[in-house]
Amino acid sequence: MNFDIDEEQRNFAEHARDFFSEQAGPGTARRLLDEAGDPAPGPRVLAELGFSSLTIPEIAGGVGAELLNMALVAEQAGRQLAGPSLATAARVAVLLEGDEGRLRDVSEGRTVIAVVDGSPAGSSPSMDALSATHFLALDGEDLLLGEGRVSPGEPIDATRGLGFVELTSSEVVCRDARERWERARQVACVVLAAEGLGAADRVVELGIEHARSRETFGRPIGAYQAVKHRLVDDWVAVNQLRSLVWWAAWAADHAPEQLPLAASAAKAYCATTFETACETLIHVLGGIGFTWEHDAHLYWRRAKVDRLLLGDESEHLAAVALQSISAATRAVSGETGTTEVVPV
């Protein structure tokens, strides 16, 4: 067993980190709450740099990398509240698997595709809808691609590009697409959790910085256990979230039978970890953390929204529980032979 990223992946993440700190940041998230626009760095730039086509095969103009690499980039994107979400990109790459032509359009930035959650005739709020030119949707068992009319809602986090979509034209790009749809959603959960990981990591970092320097009653506030221990708990959770995200991303390519469990575990754990970290940060900052000008609320807004996207904590907790039970039941009845599907 070797459960760590390698040197190349580390360098790759480092580059992504530099890129996103230059090209994105909470400032954009703040501005978008007052005026409409695309999140930074925006769909074209992500396509140009190959970030959104990381998991698209080379033959279709993509990078052909593993999902783990996408997760490493997503972590860095999350730190800077970048958008559109790489979760959407990863989801599209799975949904259009084998469709080289359309994937090439995506890789080369000619089309920007979002995925419609809910009915194609009138969707739930769907991620990155506001900046998309085309939409993928599931209609019964058929996967549709088409254009659509998008009505934005009043955003909590404006970088998620949430909109209600109504498809105005569509063609079936895949029949019997249910399994693929589910897998695409699991992959998207992993990448969304990776973005949450990066954001939560940054949030804990901000809290630690403040707790080291801000004094009250003659001592830095980080000396007080009430502050210190909350930050520690959040740091522990973020560190553990990283383990789940890496495992889930690895599973997508190397142990697909573990993906459903791992993706749900990562997504569920991310929901609470990220939200709690933001609440700690705002609390630890005191008055300044409640201001519009501080970045804290922008991360908090992202956390409040992300925890619900692609299934909330309850949905994923139930998935983990039921998959574990069903694997245990299969193991008892001998169905799986000597290899356990679920490492619980």
């Binding site: 709020p125 809602g153 009043e154 909590i156 609390h283 619900l308």
Partner: protein, 407 residues
């Protein structure tokens, strides 16, 4: 033990209820404390509401008659408050004046000050603010650095305050300033009434994470205050401030009042949403709703016990801080559950039907949590003053332990 109205109270209740029915259209309404729709400004409407209620004798019922109050009992005020709550009348815009500044003026002001200020404060003719916190002193209030220096023409004030609720709408404020920089930090402070229209006062509203602008920065640049506007003795301001803080504690959650969206609004929301949920979601939601309601009831009935004790002449002691800890937690849980009940639309700040209450309350709770002391401060107060645990900072000198060697 008795929760029933006396005949007098029952008559009062009927009268109040009738009044509120008759004047319903003139009054502002709302689903919770400090809960305002983003992008709207109801200040004038809320002032009018407070004036109407005051004129009807429903505000300041227990305050001295000499200064415009009703001279009544806490029990009467409790009856009135219940009816205001039932009628969904919005909380008074002048809550800082009613909850903190007014009691401080009553407790420490001159007869002249009381005559000039109290009645107009009760009626929201003047709004008041509390100029305490500074950029460098929040929890550690007594570390404040705004200076007041005595000259022939009065006290000259120099400094900056922050997180001052309502300052931009306020005519007056109570101001805590350092008058003796040499004294031990709690001993060199003095309290004043400051006219917010004085030269040298600059108010800059701060935009908050909920989009509102209820907090302000206040810059005090050589503001002159006449010595007659002093509250209490020179260098005795900490004792005066304790009156304010004690009143604040009772006002913010201490008496069992709710912060954030009212629990009856949550129940109504749940009642309308539950039938649309899947069986699984319904069961999880019912548990979450039960948990919020039980904690809310626990805080409410504890507030009733405190009210009874105050009515009997007890003063709200440090244990009143407990109510706020719970009330903030309930407000948080209420907003969270209310938002989640919006289902798919819970990722938006306003549902398709236009429900903005839960998202706004979520984004407002961290601010409410700061008023009257952060959780840690309240827990320290309770731990040290009520439970008798040793103080937090090492006033007892610890045995030194080099960090590198500690376990």
């Amino acid at each position: 033990m008795d929760f029933d109205d006396t005949p007098d109270q029952a008559r009062l209740r009927d009268a109040v209820r009738q009044f509120l029915v008759d004047h319903d259209s003139e009054l502002a309404h709302g689903d919770g404390a400090y809960l305002e729709e983003p992008g709207t400004d109801r200040v004038e409407g809320l002032r009018r509401t407070q004036a109407i209620l005051f004129d009807a004798g429903l505000i300041g019922l227990t305050w001295p008659k000499d200064y415009g109050g009703g001279g009544g009992t806490n029990a009467q005020q409790a009856v009135v408050n219940e009816e205001l709550h039932r009628a969904r009348v919005a909380g008074p815009i002048g809550h800082v004046g009613l909850g903190m500044c007014g009691p401080t003026v009553l407790g420490h002001g001159s007869e002249d000050q009381k005559q000039r200020y109290i009645r107009r404060l009760l009626r929201a003719d003047d709004l008041w603010c509390q100029l305490f916190s500074e950029p460098g002193s929040g929890s550690d209030l007594a570390a404040l650095r705004t200076k007041a220096v005595r000259h022939d023409d009065g006290w000259h004030i120099q400094g900056q305050k922050v997180w001052t609720t309502l300052a931009q709408h306020s005519r007056y404020g109570i101001l805590l300033a350092r008058t003796n920089p040499e004294a031990q930090k709690h001993r060199g402070l003095t309290m004043f009434v400051v006219d917010m229209e004085s030269p040298g006062v600059t108010v800059r509203p701060l935009r908050q994470m909920n989009g509102h602008q209820s907090f302000n920065e206040v810059f005090l640049d050589d503001v002159v205050i006449d010595d007659s506007e002093r509250l209490g003795d020179v260098d005795d301001g900490w004792r005066v401030a304790l009156t304010t803080l004690m009143s604040e504690r009772m006002a913010v959650g201490g008496g069992g009042g709710e912060l954030g969206v009212r629990s009856d609004a949550l129940v109504a929301h749940a009642a309308s949403r539950l039938p649309q949920l899947s069986d699984d979601r319904r069961r999880l939601t019912i548990e979450a709703l039960g948990r919020v309601l039980v904690e809310s009831l626990a805080a409410r009935y504890t507030g009733y016990r405190l009210q009874t004790s105050v009515e009997r002449g007890g003063r709200p002691g440090p244990e009143a801080s407990a109510g706020k800890l719970t009330a903030v937690r309930v407000a948080h849980a209420t907003a969270d559950l209310g938002q989640r009940l919006l289902g798919d639309e819970a990722v938006l700040a306003r549902s398709v039907e236009g429900d903005w209450r839960w998202a706004t309350s979520q984004a407002s709770t961290p601010g409410i949590a700061l008023a009257g002391g952060a959780d840690e401060i309240l827990r320290n107060i309770l731990g040290e003053r009520v439970l008798g645990l040793p103080p937090d900072s090492a006033r007892v000198a610890p045995r030194p332990t080099p960090p590198s060697e500690s376990r």
